[in-house]
């Protein structure tokens, strides 16, 4: 008795959702607008080192010529972006960051003052 009920559900289209599958990896990764991935240096940097201090996993190293972030240590918490007095660090949208070498996860930017 109950089994027929169940079939009726399916016949009525209950539980039918159309295609929900994402196109990834054949299309771009569709992330929501607010999604936070790895931080990126987009603007000016005067190597003040606030970001490196704010980082809970010590993923950022700043010298007078280079800003290096080790994505292998970055937990995407956004402390560096909040800590930057110039607002030059933004949380990026790119999540395709895998690498075959540990060093491949290090991203460097030239420091522009």
């Amino acid at each position: 008795m109950k089994v027929t009920n169940l079939f009726r559900f399916y016949r009525l289209g209950v539980g039918k959702r159309g295609v929900v599958t994402t196109r990834y990896p054949n299309g771009p990764a569709e992330l929501p607008a607010a999604a936070q991935c790895a931080p990126e240096l987009t603007g000016k940097c005067d190597a003040c080192g606030h970001c490196a201090e704010a980082c809970p996993t010590k993923a950022i190293a700043v010298t007078t010529s280079k800003f290096t972030i080790d994505l292998g240590d970055c937990i995407y918490c956004g402390e560096c972006a909040r800590g930057c007095p110039k607002g030059s660090i933004v949380m990026g949208k790119n999540c395709e960051l895998s690498a075959r070498k540990r060093e491949g996860l290090e991203v460097s930017y030239d420091v522009r003052q």
Binding site: F9, A34, Q36
Partner: protein, 528 residues
């Protein structure tokens, strides 16, 4: 109300137990009793029998650098009282042992084994003296939570073997499972003794994911503890972080702005929603009802994407901070949340109707893995598991935090104690959570998101309870110099794991995954 009951409690202690104790009612209404270590079991037993109290936590603390001794802290919850009773007892440095509570309070079992592992204090009279969180090859005499332990020095391995309980008899054999399981779950070892199909004994061995969270937290400044708390147990990270933030805020006496309180409520419920969705889907999957499971998983994914949209993280990470919240809920997000929840509610209705009309599903879940009320009470089982066995307790209602005191909601309770009862509790809670979010969004006040924390005076203690989707989660802090002197975390899983050993008895081995899924406990939160 609190004061009346608590002062009565002390007056009521029989004269034998009352000698030599000191007690004090704190400003927040909580009661602190200082007792001698040998009187502790008697007093706890008395309060338990007379007031039906339950054990929130039992943990130790190393006060030797401050010129003291070891201290045991027992936290008891009382019905109709919103603050816990705190009982403190000093433990002599040289004796390094104390009288065990376990013979009279079974829930203290794992707490005392943990104390014995991490502090080297022996619980005298404890029926089970085997290690719990540290593995068998941990060297004798090295206790990580003592203050003289240096975490940077590598600890040598000592070959030894863990003595499992033996069940012997004709036709009895053992099935070891884990720590690497067949499904994508965390590591833990289960050893079944079976005679034919029914399980006659189950032994759970935890500790595989012991990372040393408590010790690490003691070396981090307060604001750094928040990302750590989020990673104690990944899928209830927000509620753990919230518990930690509340504990630190109570140390510093910081008043969190109203808007932040409401956003905290909304985010905790969003977390509960996606976790419960995964749980009920998992139960459908374990009864081999794949279609239904995928319906729930689609909803879960939609809720996680909603999290992403609102906070920028699928797990609501870095949304909490000390003194408030990081992320705001502007009008756009509010509309997103309302729209998504409406769809989720309709689709979830479909899912619930489907499984409730499915005889083969109900046949598997009804009367499977029964946890009786008596067992649940004695082990102080919390959360949906407890509510499925008839324990009517919910931190959100009994010890309101965030903005829960301004919101009306029901606490679903079922008495059967089987897998189906636990599933129904979760299903009902999904609807309640949606209701809570809708109410909180409507009432969302304007104002600040975050206020400065202020100074946390050294030596003060702070306690905070929150309700994760697994149940009551506790963070207890003692303030040090800008960082915690002692940080005790107790996830709901720590209390609920031993209950699985009782719930599976007499069930067949293929039902174990189902029972385990209906409890859905965290291994990482248990081992820390």
């Amino acid at each position: 109300m609190n004061r009346m009951i608590l002062s009565e409690l002390v007056e009521d202690l029989p004269p034998v137990l009352r000698t030599g104790i000191r007690w004090e009612l704190q400003d927040d209404g909580s009661l602190t009793i200082d007792v001698g270590e040998e009187a502790l079991p008697g007093i706890v037993d008395h309060i338990q029998k007379k007031y039906h109290s339950w054990l929130i936590s039992e943990h130790a603390l190393d006060l030797r650098p401050k010129g003291g001794e070891f201290q045991l802290i027992v936290l008891l919850g009382l019905p109709k009282v919103t603050v816990p009773v705190i009982i403190r007892a000093n433990v002599d440095i040289y004796a390094s042992s104390f009288h065990s509570l376990t013979p009279s309070v079974p829930a203290a079992n794992w707490f005392e084994r943990e104390i014995s592992d991490t502090f080297g204090l022996t619980p005298n009279g404890h029926p089970d003296q085997r290690p719990l969180v540290l593995y068998d090859d941990w060297p004798y005499g090295t206790y990580p939570l003592r203050k003289d332990f240096d975490p940077s020095r590598p600890v040598p391995r000592v070959p030894s073997e863990y003595p499992f309980r033996k069940v012997e008899g004709e036709g009895v054999f053992e099935i070891p499972v884990g720590p690497v399981h067949a499904g994508v779950i965390e590591p833990g070892h289960f050893r079944f003794s079976v005679a034919g199909e029914p399980i006659i004994n189950l032994e759970i061995r935890m500790g595989y994911t012991h990372r040393g969270v408590e010790k690490l937290s003691e070396s981090l400044p307060y604001h750094r503890g928040v990302p750590l708390a989020e990673r104690i147990s990944g899928d209830n990270g927000f509620t753990h972080a919230l518990a930690y933030c509340q504990a630190v805020e109570s140390l510093a006496g910081c008043a969190v702005p109203d808007r932040a309180l409401f956003i905290r409520t909304i985010l905790s419920e969003m977390e509960r929603l996606y976790c419960h969705m995964g749980d009920v889907g998992g139960i459908a999957l374990d009864t081999a009802f794949g279609t239904g499971a995928q319906m729930a998983y689609i909803l879960r994914e939609r809720l996680m994407q909603l999290n992403d949209q609102v906070t920028g993280s699928r797990f609501l990470r870095s949304a909490s901070c000390l003194g408030g919240v990081r992320c705001d809920i502007p009008v756009d997000s509010k509309k997103d949340i309302q729209r998504t929840l409406l769809q989720v509610k309709l689709d979830f209705d479909d899912f619930v109707t489907t499984i409730k009309n499915m005889p083969s599903f109900l046949d598997r879940v009804e009367t499977t893995g029964v946890l009786t009320l008596e067992n649940a009470r004695s082990l102080n089982v919390v959360g949906p598991v407890g509510r499925g066995s008839g324990i009517d307790r919910d931190v959100r209602r009994d010890h309101p935090y965030a903005a829960y005191d301004q919101i009306s909601f029901q606490v679903p309770v079922y008495r059967e104690g089987d897998v189906w009862a636990r599933t129904r509790v979760k299903i009902d809670e999904v609807y309640e959570s949606i209701g809570i979010i809708e109410q909180a969004l409507d009432k969302l006040p304007s104002g600040e998101l975050c206020v400065p924390l202020g100074e946390a005076p050294e030596g003060r203690t702070g306690l905070s309870l929150t309700e994760t989707h697994r149940g009551e989660c506790m963070h207890w802090l003692m303030a040090g110099k800008g960082q915690p002197y002692r940080h005790k975390v107790r996830d709901a899983s720590f209390l609920n794991w031993p209950a699985i050993e009782l719930a599976v008895l007499g069930n067949i081995v293929p039902d174990f995954p189902l029972v385990n899924k209906s409890f859905n406990l965290s291994y990482a939160g248990n081992d820390l």
